[in-house]
Symmetry: C2
Subunit: 232 residues, 2 copies
DNA sequence: TAGTCGTCAAGAGCGGTGCTCTCGTTTTAT
DNA sequence: ATAAAACGAGAGCACCGCTCTTGACGACTA
């Protein structure tokens, strides 16, 4: 990784890493809006214009921070899933979701960058999509493997989805090959619910209302597992 | 309302309204980060410092926009609920939630101000809480009235919540007097799920994935109604 | 080895921002 | 009528992202 050939390439990689590190720290303390190229440069003892040798604009720096954030979250989720017994689907679901929440709570500003309101004037480039889907890919895999293991029995919670609704979820269904549309929809719903909770929690909607959020979240996860038909 | 006694008070109220109107329009087109006091002043033909006679800071202007947003959303929701037959709880649930989504989709930047990542450096003052709870108050009332009408039968979706979990939801339960904790928890879950979906939709998470979002959202709402035990 | 070429940090500068202070003027209240 | 309060205008401060130019240093090539 740091096997840059020339000395110039090595110091360039080093400085680039230092910029992103400082930027990430500023992001963690000030939030996305408080991220300032000039402040990063000041902390590095450089002049502000020098930063532009490494990142052509503030948005480009933001983009790498976003990609890094998706990868950090995705990696944590993948590790959590890998640490579970493959056949205990409920346990995998619980641990993966708790990992997502833990990461979000401990990196609120980075999480806001990923799942909060888009940064004004900033348009996420296509580079981010590969990293963005890592977490939901894990959820899809759990659900797919559970279905293949016949560990899913959908509870009857309402009228079955129309074919049109099922067709709309086809793209998400690609993450869970072989899983019927109705299950895909329940999974999508659970996915949005989990992030809805995390959003509320990280963005302060539960302030002065729910204190022991992890415990309530755990209960939410078990109910969601029930809606997906995961046996308990 | 515009019955200010002196001429000065009248023109002050008028100018204050004009400032917020222009600010709201800028917010709608540029987003929260693009809201600029100088730009507002420019559009009014005033000098920027004059704005500070009406709003002591940019954050104060943002605060009134936020309160206005909560009230606009809350009013739309209350009107939608009032237009439904009081005894058709599923219909009320569906219409209220669709109203929330419609408002969010047609006012994305204002919605982001209310339910997105908090504006950096901005701390919502206590003035906002009264307006903020209007939407969830309506949901709580629907659920409470449904329960009192014996229109709720909770489906079995997992282990029952521990007393600790139920206790955590006590504050939210105050919105639904007489409703058992388990139902309050299901309602809280449905509430977060709805806003989780709306967040995903407004913030672009469904781009290139789900096209006919209203239809899928409607299906989500019916499943959520099922989890709350609303008969269908 | 000498020279050229590309990369780099630095500095000045542009237009923008939120915000403060002062200074006359106008309107209100006494 | 006079004192007090409110007001718009203007200059100015410190900050921002970003651009352009300049001079120095390192890395390849003749």
């Amino acid at each position: 990784m740091t096997a840059g050939r020339t000395a110039r390439e090595r110091v360039r990689a080093e400085l680039t890493r230092e910029i992103t590190d400082i930027a990430r720290r500023q992001l963690a303390t000030e939030g996305a809006g408080g991220l300032s190229l000039r402040a990063v440069a000041r902390e590095m003892g450089m002049v502000s214009s020098a930063i532009y040798r490494y990142f052509p604009s503030r948005d480009d720096l933001l983009t790498t921070l976003i990609i890094d954030g998706y990868n950090a979250l995705g990696e944590a989720v993948e590790r959590a899933d890998a640490a579970c017994p493959a056949g205990d689907f409920l346990d995998r679901w619980l641990r993966v979701c708790h990992t997502m929440r833990d990461w979000a709570v401990s990196h609120p500003h980075e999480y806001a960058l990923l799942y909060g309101s888009p940064v004004p004037g900033y348009q996420a480039p296509q580079d981010t999509v590969a990293a963005r889907v890592r977490d939901v890919t894990v959820l899809g895999r759990i659900l797919a493997e559970a279905y293949q293991a016949s560990a899913i029995t959908l509870p009857d919670l309402g009228p079955p989805p129309s074919p049109a609704v099922v067709a709309e979820a086809a793209d998400i269904g690609e993450l869970m090959p072989g899983v019927p549309g109705e299950v895909v929809l329940r999974g999508t719903m659970a996915w949005t619910s989990v992030y809805g909770w995390i959003n509320f929690e990280v963005f302060g909607q539960f302030d002065n209302t729910i204190e022991d959020r992890k415990t309530v979240f755990d209960h939410l996860l078990r109910v969601l597992a029930g809606t997906m038909g995961l046996t308990w």
